[in-house]
Every structure is written in C-alpha cells, then in structure tokens.
C-alpha cells in the first residue's frame, strides 16, 4: 500500500511507516527518549531526504512525548519543577545551537559533524550506562547495598532548590546547565535530546529513574515543538502526511512502552537502552568507515 508524501515528494509504503512509528514509539515510552536518534537514521535509510526526515521527526516526537507525559503524569512520575528548569536551559542552548549549526553549514562538513557527534555521544553514554547497570544488577545479586546517590562538589553549588518529586535538594544551576548543553546538542543533531538528557538526569542530577522518564518527555515536548515551527517556517521541510503516519504508530507504541516501564526494574531498563544506543553507534561507525556505493553524491544547489 503506497502513499505519496507531498513535501518529501516521493511515495512510501504505509505499513512500513506505521511499523517504524510503532517500534520507535515503544522505545520512547519505555525509556523516556523521544526516539529521534533511532527514527531519523531509519527515515534517511528508506530514502526520505535528510532535511525532511529531521524536521518531520521533530513533529512526530511532539505527539509521542505528549502521549508519554500524560501516561507518566497519571502515575505521578513527572517533576514539573525540574522540567521547567531544564527547559529554560534548553531554550537558551538550542538558540545557540541553531546559530552554531548555520556556522558549521557555511564551513561545509555539517553532515560529518552530525554523524561524529552521534558516534561520540551515543558511544560514551551507551558504554557508561551499560557498565553502571550491569554493576548494579551484579551487586544486587550479591546483596551488596548501593548508596542512593553520591555527594560531591556539585552539591556544594549555590542557589539551592528543593525538588520534592525527585527527592533532591540541589543547586538550580545544575538542571539549567544540563538543559543548556542538551539544547545545543539537540539543535545540531536534530533530535529531542532524550538519549543525552536521561543519563544526565540519572548520573549528574541523581534523580530516581522512575521520575526521569516522565520529566525528560515533558521537556522534549517543548524543544521539538520549537524545532518543528522553526523548520516549517524557514525550510518548509515538515511533511505533515509523513508525520501523521509516524505518530499514529508512535503514540500507540509510546502508551504500551509507558506501561511496561513501570513493571521493569530501573537498572534492567537502563541496560536495555544502553544496548540499543551502542547498536546505533556501531551502525554509524560502520557507515563512516565502509566504502560507499558511490563516493560521489548529488544535491540540489542552495540558491542564496
């Protein structure tokens, strides 16, 4: 069953798109990541022009995140106070990120920068998470008690705020900085930033895993909504037909994922996400070093 996409200007199989939306939605609801780091490469892989893939994916993440946040909110798993702090940082960071993106494009090599930053971040985060979650699982089996969170210099910073939901009393500078860095990266890499945000919230802020997922999704809604509007207004690359197909699959998947995430223990959840992150990273590395089908590629000249 084929459908023609008006903005991407090509036809795709409806069932393939619905299936992709469902699988990525499941991941999104399960781990509290938007899923962009999986979906964007998949869309490009089936032949959607990269600019359309990035912009349309942002639109789809909005829907998946709204659906996910509502499910987590009902279970009381969203720390809105923390979310707003992250968001303030995120908006400032993404504005800077868009400026940096334009600069890199003018210098050429934006594609390479995007791919390399994916490899570096996915690789680092994936390995760290895998190591940490494996250690926790092993310790639990050996009945070694784990400390809730470690105290270090980060907890000595000023402007302390109480985050009751997260059971934390930490400096407001911490979530603001995390939001800022993630904002920059998400603008450059064209993703919601959940796959960076979730580990940062767990390891830097020391939030409980159950709260992290809902709070991350809450923040992602606003970042991706902002990206969607900006892309639509400046590059005309948001394909609403493609986005609708993706989000039909995506919202259903996200709901199922959110249910499962309450049943699975935190460290196993983190271990699973780590494996997925590493798999995407390996694929990206392979694409960078494998001999291309044709070393030449064709693009429309940008009319300036």
């Amino acid at each position: 069953m084929q459908i023609y996409l008006p903005i991407a200007e090509m036809s795709v199989n409806i069932l393939v798109i619905l299936g992709m939306g469902g699988v990525v939605g499941l991941v999104s609801g399960l781990f509290g990541v938007g899923g962009g780091f999986l979906m964007t490469p998949l869309l490009i892989f089936i032949g959607i022009p990269p600019a359309v893939a990035v912009a349309t994916e942002a639109n789809q993440i909005v829907a998946a995140s709204v659906s996910g946040v509502l499910a987590h909110w009902r279970r009381g798993n969203v720390d809105f106070r923390m979310g707003v702090m992250l968001l303030i940082g995120g908006i400032v960071g993404s504005a800077f990120g868009v400026w940096l993106f334009t600069l890199l494009r003018e210098l050429g090599q934006i594609d390479l920068v995007i791919r390399l930053s994916f490899v570096v971040f996915l690789g680092t985060i994936g390995l760290l998470m895998l190591w940490e979650s494996t250690r926790t699982i092993l310790r639990r089996r050996q009945h070694i008690p784990t400390k809730h969170h470690h105290h270090n210099w980060l907890h000595g910073l000023p402007f302390k705020m109480r985050f009751r939901k997260s059971r934390l009393y930490i400096s407001a500078l911490l979530p603001l900085t995390v939001g800022l860095i993630v904002g920059v990266l998400s603008a450059i890499m064209g993703v919601g930033g959940g796959f960076i945000m979730v580990p940062a919230m767990i390891y830097v802020l020391g939030m409980p895993t159950s709260i992290v997922v809902g709070t991350s999704l809450f923040q992602i809604i606003f970042v991706t909504a902002n990206v969607t509007v900006l892309q639509a207004a400046t590059n005309y690359t948001v394909d609403i037909v493609l986005a609708l197909l993706l989000l039909i699959g995506g919202v259903v998947g996200a709901q199922i994922g959110a249910r499962f995430s309450n049943r699975l223990p935190g460290e196993q959840l983190r271990g699973l996400l780590a494996l997925m992150v590493i798999a995407v990273c390996i694929k990206l590395v392979f694409d960078l070093i494998a001999v291309p089908v044709d070393p030449y590629n064709i693009a429309e000249a940008l009319s300036l």
Binding site: Y4, A63, L70, T228, I298
Partner: protein, 254 residues
C-alpha cells in the same frame, strides 16, 4: 459599425486560411505526427510513478528518436575521500541548469541511426548533455569525472533513462513508445522532442510538452507549507499535541 464587423470578419477569414494552409502543408509533406496519451501527469495520494504513451505516424520510412527533458535546476556533486579511515566530502563541483529528468528512446540502437557529431549537436544521450561546470577554471578531466558521477547517480534513481529499441512500429507508419516517470519525479513542464532520422540526418522533428503537477490534497498541503510556513508549523504541532492527547484518552478507557 457594420463596416467594422465585415472587416474583422475578413480578417478572421484570412487568418483561418493561413492556419489551414499551414496545417495541410505539414500533412502534405508528410511527415511526422505525434501525440501523448495525456498532457498532464497528476500526482495524487496514490502516485507510484506513471507511464505515458507516446504515439505517432510517419509518411515515409525512417528511424524515430524520442527525447524527454525535465525542468532544469542547479546541482552540486560532492566527492568523498578517505581521511584517517573516515569517508568525508573533500571536493565538490556545481553544475548549472541540469535537467531533473532525461529519457531517450529510439527505434534502433542510437549509434546505428545517428552519427556521433549529430548526437553531440542535438544532445542525444545523457553523455552529450551540455552540463557546464559553474567554475570554469577546473581541469577538464576532473569536470568529466564529476559529470559522469552526476549522470550515474541520476540513472540509479531512474531519472535518466536510455532505452534503445523501445520505439516500436505498428505496420509501417504508426509507432509508439512508453515513457516512464518514477515517483520521485520533479514537478514542472517536460519537453518532448521526436526526431525522424533518414540516412543519418534529421528528416523531421516535432515538439510537444507534458506537465507534471500535484493535484488535490497533495497540491494544497504543498502550497500551504510553502506560502504560510509559520502557520503550517504551528498547525503541525497542534495536530501532534491533539494526537498524543487522543491516544492517551483512548488507552485510559480501555
């Protein structure tokens, strides 16, 4: 007033004679009449590419060559090279006015119908397309490599096609061929040239156009997205928020 009417009447009469004369002369010379099964290819929701029938007739024997040229745009071709194990774009070349689509079909292999110098002059075959590099200082062999890559890439997407011996004669005078447009085809006006060759030179030539455009919901969405981008973006976000909320509502009830 009646005088004026009579005058304009006679004007039209004269014009009519001239037009009719022109037409009958073409038929009398005989030569080549062509038409397409459709003048407009509509891109609708179910568009998976489209095939057009081109048909025509000839009075005298000769071989037929059909060329379809799509709308022209400027194109950048980039070349990847291995740097420290990683493939990255190292050099690029810009070509101006490159046809988005180019198909050539003929009743016999092109080499046996048309001499090389004619093929070059009439740009018959993708290799003879005039594709000037924007920067004229580049060495010629380098330009050639990028040109070949451009044609190769377009051929992979079926946007450049060469199909010899697909123009078939029915009886001695009628001929037909199918023109295939893949689903990635660009919108715009396509020029169709039909040549009749006799003894290696052009005996007749006819031109016609086919228009490829989006219709219905496809056209409206495209138009909306390009004319009012900000409103389109806000609407897209609202639809996404609604969809997320609706899905949540449905799942809560079950």
């Amino acid at each position: 007033m009646p005088h004026l009417t009579r005058f304009s009447c006679s004007m039209f009469f004269c014009l009519g004679i001239t037009l009719a004369g022109g037409t009958s002369r073409a038929v009398a010379q005989g030569d080549l009449v062509v038409d397409l099964s459709e003048k407009v290819v509509a891109i609708t929701t179910g568009f998976v590419g489209s095939s057009l029938l081109l048909f025509g007739s000839v009075e005298a024997p000769g071989e037929i060559v059909v060329v379809v040229n799509g709308p022209r745009t400027d194109v950048v071709v980039r070349r990847k090279e291995r740097v420290a194990g990683i493939w990255m774009n190292r050099s690029q070349m810009e070509f101006s006015r490159v046809p988005a689509f180019y198909a050539i079909a003929s009743s016999q292999p092109l080499e046996s119908i048309v001499p090389a110098e004619q093929r070059e002059r009439l740009q018959l075959g993708a290799n003879y397309l005039h594709l000037p590099a924007t920067d004229p200082t580049t060495p010629l062999d380098e330009i050639q490599k990028f040109r070949d890559a451009l044609i190769r890439g377009r051929q992979r997407q079926e946007l450049y096609q060469a199909t010899p011996a697909t123009v078939t004669f029915v009886g001695g005078k009628l001929f037909r061929t199918d023109i295939w447009f893949p689903s990635t085809v660009a919108v715009g006006t396509y020029r169709v040239d039909v040549y009749q060759f006799r003894a290696g030179s052009v005996a007749n030539v006819r031109h016609t156009n086919v228009s490829i455009r989006k219709t219905g919901a496809e056209a409206e969405i495209y138009e909306f997205a390009h004319s009012r981008g900000l409103a389109y973006g806000i609407l897209a976000v609202l639809i996404a928020v609604m969809a997320g909320w609706l899905a949540n509502l449905m799942f809560r009830r079950t």
